[in-house]
Amino acid sequence: MEEKTNVTAEKKKVTIPRGDPAVEMIGITKTFGSIVANSSVSLSIYHGEILSLLGENGSGKTTLMNMLSGIYFPDAGTIKVNGKAVSIRSPKDAYDLHIGMIHQHFKLVGLLTAAENIMLGLKGKFVLDLKSVRKAVRDICEKYGFDIDPDKKVYDMSVSEKQTLEIVKVLYRGADILILDEPTAVLTPQETQRLFGIIRNMKADGKSIVIITHKLHEVMAVSDRVAVLRKGVYIGDLATKDTNPQQLTDMMVGRAVSLNIERPEPENIRECLKVENLSVVDSEGVTKLQDVSFTAYGGEILGVAGVSGSGQKELLEAVAGLQPAKPGSSIVFTDMDGKTSSLIGKTPMEIKKLGVHLAFVPEDRLGMGLVGDLDIADNMLIRTYTEGNSVFVDMKRPRKLAQEIVKEFEVVTPGITTPVRKLSGGNVQKVLVGREISGNPSLMMSAYAVRGLDINTSYTIYRLMNEQKKRGAAVIYVGEDLDVLLELCDRILVLCAGRISGIVDGRKTTKEEVGLMMTHLPSEEAQA
């Protein structure tokens, strides 16, 4: 199936003449051990364009751009900047060539102010000249429409502010070619719109901007041209105005895929999990959740939306017994036979002994859900190793389960004795989800279940969630892609800074409404 590339898409490949390219990458190859991240990729970036670099996770987009920004060095190939062959061996070399990259994970020092972060690592006089930095920062902000306080400490900043600071930092260092790695992954819809405005301003100023992304509607919204990578191979480029999401998806995946997510009507609804006044304070005394009350029903998918770090993790962990809740909180679980039990103050072991079947796919797959160095079969044991009275573990059943999961979910692995850390992200998630649903849970909780997965695996996960819903399990789905939440979930609970700003009907709400709720609590709105 993979070989059957969408030929029509490839034939439409066009190169838009735009004068001389600012950057040419020719025949770039990069391997990590036996993994080929980029195979003979050739890509040009022109002056004054917004280029989307599109591809699924693991298709080599970031690796390719990292070679442009001096993080990696190519194994083979040539990079030309303004027609001259160059060798970029460090981020400093890249800055000297006016290339700057804004990474997905910000490289900022929390204790320093914005201005201090900007001049960090730059050569200068012995005495810090913060005054001129401040002025330069203000000039840049004015020019492109940023809003940033040079004296604000980074730890006081929101994610969006930090990202703005990263962009200003790169501009201050004189970059003409800006590479943004998945810039919208952490932003609300409103913040995304603001960012796109800034990107357009920069383009108007003659800068070239490369946006690494896998979100199609963003490609369509902001870019002039789109280049597609698949499994480390360059597939082609298209003018954005000449293409559409379906064609781009086909190029990205290599064959035609349907982009619709199924959402069956909920049936036989029953109360499964009743959470009342749940408050969680972390070990440093920071309130992570405050007075959260909601009910999850068997037979429906309850989505949880929110800016990352709004208490999603704590919410799921509190239910799983991994996070102590403050006194006064109540979590009551009702199983499929109608038996109720309180989960508050219970350890995971006690919850297990109550006979509560809950499945939990945590955000940190290899750091919490699985053990990277153990093989697939050993990882099956995590939930069941205590069973039986023997001192020794029973390896027969986990081996059988591992084989079943590998077969049923088409896990790509040399065998069940392969350590899971050697599997790709999607296969790791299949192993984890496969194990969790194998226990026939009454409650299925998942956090960012499709993060980093390719389209195919993502749709497999949606299907599995729907299967659990049809089985009568209550599904709590914490997600970050609002489009998916709106298509998949029956109801969406929106968290804002550890509090519930509302629960909306997934069939009736809009992205804008949810986006607004993510950043504003209802009471604030009333005050405003």
Partner: protein, 393 residues
Amino acid sequence: MIHISKRVDFTLFKGKAAWMNRFIGWGIRLLAVALSLVVCGVLIYALTKLNPVKVYAVMANGVFGTTRRVWAWLRDLALLLCISVGLAPAFKMRFWNIGAEGQVLVGGIATAACMIYMGGMNIPTPLLLLIMAATSIVAGAIWGIIPALFKARWNTNETLFTLMMNYIAIQLTSYFIPKWEHPKGSNTVGLINAGTQAGWFPSFMSKEALAKLDPNAWYTGLLKNTVGQPYLLNVLIVIAIVLFMFFYLKKSKHGYEIAVVGQSENTARYAAMNVKKVIVRTMTLSGAICGLGGFLAVAGADHTISAATAGGRGFVAIIVAWLAKFNTFVMILISAVLVFLEKGAIAIASEFSLSNDVSHIIKGIILFFILGSEFFINYQIKFTGKSGRRADK
């Protein structure tokens, strides 16, 4: 330009079965030992003008020349192995137990105390040995449990904690030496129960029983060299521990918990494990086996106690455990090589009346090569061609 990257497969066996790659890995290790012997040979010749081959012959003869020497080698091998196996569960749990030295020492003190205070009570030897073993185990376990409790309760740094426990153990030994001094004024404990040999490891067949055997029978020599030797018990005890630890780590539920806790405490909590309990239990076991090492050292070998009873083995055992990647059977091989080097180097030094430091130099060179070979097994180095030009500015 030079590229260093993690090795996936050896080019020779690309994508082939894992055992083939493991095989070539061991080939590289052997090659490293051979190379180190060549380097040592050159060095020996340069410094002393001695024939290196002769020197190595002396080395081999010094370790395997007589039955007595072979048994001395086995005895030291058993002790080092015992401590290494004791470290295995702690290290597998990523609990850096640097305190084996102290755990061995307190085990030794407990053994010596039993020998001194109970030696005159006419307790039957097997019972006395059992009591001694039990007290040494308890002593070692206490030394292991203290840092574990602090780690579990307050998340203290176990590396520093176990290391400092070593010094407490050494001071404790220094406290007991004058109390148990014999003969007076020597500032040493001397051979404990030298006359009665109470609490010493016995041979399974006494000299008298062996003398009664037909001297011409085929089995006489065999028996004399095995059950007639006093160190057989050391070896048997350690074989039992090796087997136990192998199955404990690989097959038991406890072993599974240790593996998960070592990899990620979050996963362990997620899997409904009691992380604190696992830490304390595992360190109790680790300390207990190291304490038993003290029992082997005092009752089975030295028959005395001093601050040097552990003799740095608590640290050498760390190397053994790591090189063996916590596989107790591989530990046998590695301790055998290390003890051979130790004893062989001493033989060279005394035969050619060289300073004792020469033996340390040889040991150091060989260890350097063995540890260095791990780099070439785990990483590959690629020399890339002309692409090394700097950015044009």
